[in-house]
């Protein structure tokens, strides 16, 4: 076996220095991955409400114009409301006759906030008659896991994650701070899309809306209306899959992506400076050693190979240790912070992991500058002694 300069010898014999470098690099790796994990909790938590639920339910806040009703001076507020209700009933009849539309209600809505690590999302749920709720839950694939179904007005069922997020218990009053003791929480639901429901009692923090239960293929409400020969006024708010997907992408995914990118860039810049300075000092201490190698016949290429093998071992080990530390930290954070707040999370984000690996490869690339400078400046021992 022909002799090559061993990278392991330096690593094995300089445990303290190596420990410091590996600790710093692995902690930085962990910090970057865990920050991404925390930010992604927001994205993961909003996904059921913003992407899953709208595949089955749409809330349309329709103006009279969208129903073909125009205000004229002969109308009173009451007559306008009467005609609006009639037009709405007609529209609901038409919608129910459509393929892919399961049910329609013109109902009061309640809004509930859902607060992940950063930001918060306000989403709505319908206030239905008590007898309508079992069918609604069945359609939404929501299961009552605790408590009972609403029997009287002013009773609500909340998704268990929302319950945890607000630290509610069955029997508590929903939004007591805003409404007082009006809505009582009577049960906990479990579903993939964080379904909530309730019975009305005249109060609402959102207003009235046409609630449409539909198949995923009919999730674009404006398109459904167009198929009926109707046009929804531009200013009407249609809380459907199209709008939610757009909001999710622009308000949540892009914002978080930008935040992650900014944090990554800042951390990598600081890390690059730290690694740069540390390595220059590392290398200065070893110039005598490399000087000897050159003098006894090793080439600069072989010394470069030695340094690169050391760098790769240090970075590779740091990344492996960083992965383990990240996993441990994420489990701890999930247990103490995320699960108790009813938030969703994921551990494995391949794109982020690859980006982190790429930033470490970038750091290794950066190190080529001082390595090449120093290697070209290595002198033989006779020059040192001169």
């Amino acid at each position: 076996m022909s002799q090559t300069l061993s990278a392991v010898k330096f690593i094995r014999n300089n445990k303290r220095q190596v420990f410091v470098v590996i600790s710093a690099l692995s902690l930085a790796f962990m910090a970057m991955y865990v920050i991404q994990f925390i930010l992604m909790v927001t994205e993961e938590s909003f996904r059921p409400v913003m992407l899953e639920q709208p595949k089955k339910i749409t809330f349309a806040y329709l103006s009279g114009e969208s129903l073909g009703l125009t205000w004229n001076d002969d109308m009173t507020e009451e007559s306008y409301q009467e005609q609006y209700q009639k037009k709405m009933d007609d529209l609901m009849e038409e919608l129910r006759a459509q393929d892919g539309i399961k049910e329609c209600y013109y109902t009061q809505l309640l809004g509930v906030s859902y607060v992940p690590v950063i930001g918060n999302w306000w989403y709505t749920f319908p206030m239905l008659e008590a007898e309508q709720i079992p069918d609604y839950l069945k359609y939404m694939d929501a299961k009552l896991v605790e408590g009972r179904l609403p029997e009287r007005d002013g009773e609500v069922l909340l998704d268990q994650k929302v319950m945890m997020n607000h630290d509610y218990r069955i029997g508590d009053y929903f939004l007591e701070g805003s409404y007082g003791k009006i809505f009582t929480i009577v049960g906990t639901l479990q579903s993939d899309s964080m379904v909530c429901a309730g019975t009305p009692n005249g109060y609402t923090n959102v207003g009235w809306a046409l609630t449409v239960l539909h198949e995923e293929s009919r999730a674009d409400f404006r398109e459904v209306m167009r198929s009926l020969g109707k046009t929804v006024a531009e200013e009407d708010t249609i809380d459907d899959a199209v709008r939610n997907k757009k909001n999710y992408e622009s308000d949540v995914a892009e914002t978080i992506e930008s935040a992650i990118s900014v944090i990554l860039v800042v951390v990598v810049i600081f890390l690059a400076i730290a690694v740069f300075v540390t390595y220059i000092s590392f290398m200065r201490n070893r110039v005598g050693e490399w000087c000897l190698y050159i003098s006894i016949g090793y080439s600069r290429k072989e010394i470069y190979g030695l340094i690169m093998r050391e760098v790769l071992i240090l970075f590779g080990t740091s990344m492996a240790v960083g992965c383990i530390l990240s996993a441990v930290m994420m489990v701890i954070l999930a247990k103490i912070l995320i699960v108790p707040k009813g938030l969703s999370f994921g551990f494995w984000y391949p794109a982020h992991f690859l980006r982190l690996c790429a930033s470490y490869v970038f750091l290794i690339g950066m190190l080529q500058i001082p390595i090449c400078i120093i290697i070209n400046k290595i002198q033989t021992i006779d020059q040192v002694e001169d």
Binding site: Q3, K9, F10, N13, N14, I296, S299, I381
Partner: protein
């Protein structure tokens, strides 16, 4: 083995006052034996040794090694020559401080195998290191021990030539003579060049070259050294 023709080495080439370390010297060294190069500081003895060992390029003149012109060798050929055929003992030991004595010897080994490691241990033993010191970091060894490790490193590949620049400078008399005895033994069938200003260690040399102000003032067989 080595032949020098009109060999000159000029330092500070760009300045008006050129400094000649070697002034057009001619010489021929034997294929084997212990060759001592002696002279006061600044006489050019170390420069000559570094030119012969390919670490320095002479400014003028030619060096032949086994009939081949050394000065025409490429950098890669010079590296290979140093690695495969030459061994070095420098004035300071230049050991890698975080490595053990054996690992320091093995740094120069051409092959990384058990037999070489055993050979390294054998050399260290012959040079007076105790077994428990073989795996001590060189930073924990005394100056004399370090120099002996450096000599073992120079010998590990059984090179055709060993260049030793003041090899006994950091040793007491007892150790200095021990090192010279080992070099002398090695020089039985190889060439060992020892550069020194300490005449007392050169009593056993086969050829003595005396240098003065960049020139060879005398060169002769053993009898001249006595």
């Amino acid at each position: 083995m080595f032949e020098g023709k009109k060999l000159s080495m000029i330092y500070d080439m760009d300045t008006d006052e050129k400094m000649y370390a070697l002034k057009g010297i001619d010489f021929r060294l034997p294929d084997g034996g212990l060759v001592g190069i002696i002279g006061p500081s600044g006489s050019g003895k170390s420069t000559l040794m570094y030119c012969l060992s390919t670490l320095k390029y002479p400014t003028e003149g030619k060096i032949f090694y086994n009939g081949k012109e050394l000065t025409a060798f490429s950098d890669r050929e010079r590296e290979q020559l140093r690695r495969q055929e030459f061994g070095f003992v420098f004035q300071k030991h230049y050991l890698v401080p975080y490595m053990s004595a054996v690992d320091n010897v093995m740094v120069a080994a051409l092959r990384n195998e058990k037999a070489m490691r055993e050979k390294a241990e054998a050399y260290l033993g012959r040079l007076g290191l105790k077994e428990r010191e073989f795996y001590k970091k060189s930073s924990k060894l005394s100056g004399g021990q370090c120099q002996r490790v450096a000599i073992a490193r120079a010998m590990i590949n059984d090179p055709k030539v060993i260049f030793a620049d003041e090899p006994t400078a950091s040793l007491d008399h007892e150790n200095a003579f021990l090192v010279m005895r080992i070099l002398k033994e090695y020089a039985k069938d190889r060439l060992v060049l020892v550069v020194t200003h300490d005449r007392s260690i050169l009593s056993d040399v086969d050829v003595l070259m005396e240098m003065w102000d960049g020139a060879i003032s005398s060169m002769g067989e053993r009898s001249m050294a006595e």
